[in-house]
């Protein structure tokens, strides 16, 4: 299958947080091959100690994101031919998160911020109540639906330079979730959400760099969601609803 195609020259980040370096591997090229396949090939055939993370392999779990030729990507859904530069591929861990080892990062800070942004549904009803009718075409619902299909892959988080500069910044994914919930008419604490995103790490720190929206593999628009939160908080500050 690899006939006609030259081997890939892959450099992979090895090591832990502070100490580490790129290591070079030669990987046979195949017609159907994702970046994740390349990494798995290295672990299975060249260096059994290479560490990385994946689960679903189809773009649903958001565990496999890495930095590929300098850009954050979900590796299980990134075909090699789309990102390869000549025959070269450079793969590193996601930015902005602590590295556990090689290509695996600690995602806890990302999820801590998700919770800190009140990205958690606040129920008003219980399992004993009927399910609330919600018109799918209502303006609010349309807005909520736009941001709902996030797989928490942290690609946006890794792409954002504001996160790099400001470790307190909640980041695009958490804020996108907060905005989605804010527009969920069933949520019982929409004011609390606005409070949570108005602190010193809140939505107002976003400089609209737009990398989040550009790189989100699911074509979500955290940039737009964050702008929505900024508007909502300002409106409330002027006493216009909230």
């Amino acid at each position: 299958m690899s006939d006609g195609l030259r081997d890939l020259e892959v450099t992979v980040w090895r090591g832990r947080e502070a100490a580490g370096s790129y290591q070079r591997f030669s990987v046979p090229r195949q017609e159907s091959q994702t970046v994740l396949d390349v990494i798995a090939w290295i672990q299975q055939n060249a260096d059994p100690t290479l560490s990385y993370r994946y689960a679903c392999r189809v773009g649903m779990c958001g565990s496999c994101a890495m930095t590929v030729n300098g850009k954050p990507r979900w590796t299980c859904r990134t075909h090699v031919s789309k990102v390869v530069k000549g025959d070269r591929l450079e793969v590193g861990p996601l930015r902005n998160l602590p590295v556990i080892k090689d290509l695996a990062v600690d995602m806890d800070p990302f999820f801590d911020k998700w919770v800190a942004a009140e990205g958690v549904f606040h129920p008003e009803k219980s399992r004993h109540d009927p399910i609330e009718p919600v018109r799918p075409t209502s303006e609010q619902r349309v807005v909520a639906d736009r941001g709902i299909e996030c797989i928490n892959c942290a690609v946006c988080y890794a792409s954002c330079d504001t996160v790099s500069g400001n470790p307190d910044y909640l980041g695009p994914a958490a804020l996108n979730r907060a905005w989605t919930l804010y527009n969920d008419q069933r949520d019982g604490d929409r004011r609390g959400i606005l409070d949570a995103v108005s602190g010193s790490g809140g939505c107002h720190n976003c400089h609209s760099q737009g990398s989040c929206t550009l790189y989100c593999p699911n074509e979500l628009d955290p940039l737009g969601s964050i702008a929505g939160l900024k508007r909502a908080t300002v409106r409330r500050a002027f006493g216009m609803e909230g």
Binding site: T67, N69, G70, K71, P72, R95, S159, D161, H207, S208, Q209, G210, S211, T213, L214, Y215, D221, L223, G224, A227, G228, K230, R231, V234
Partner: protein
């Protein structure tokens, strides 16, 4: 430049930041020069003559340019943040605004 930064919105961001920074650094200077009017009017006059020199003219051009870049960048941001527009409209508006601004600045500078 790091690959993840190579896209228009990030360029817009860094342009806005650098112009803002440059303006903030220039501003005290500007205030100082203006304050000369009170203490040493002749120095101010000398300064204004000096301002006719080509190099200084060029610097001035740079300053007006920075200011314009920053203002329109800022207006773009404010529109993006405060008006619930769709992404496409925002891009269109931004392009329109920046084009018109470039034209007008060019026009004014030539007139000087």
């Amino acid at each position: 430049m790091r690959p993840h930064r190579q896209h228009p919105l990030w360029f817009a961001f860094i342009l806005h930041r650098l112009s803002g920074l440059a303006l903030a650094l220039f501003l005290p200077l500007h205030f100082y020069v203006m304050a000369l009017a009170l203490n040493a009017p002749e120095k101010l006059d000398g300064f204004l003559h000096w301002a006719e020199a080509p190099l200084v003219k060029f610097a001035e051009f740079g300053l007006v340019f920075l200011l314009a870049v920053h203002i329109f960048g800022g207006l773009r941001l404010l529109a993006l943040e405060l008006l619930p527009w769709s992404g496409r409209q925002k891009t269109l508006a931004a392009t329109a605004v920046s084009l018109s601004f470039l034209l007008s600045v060019g026009f004014f500078l030539r007139a000087i």
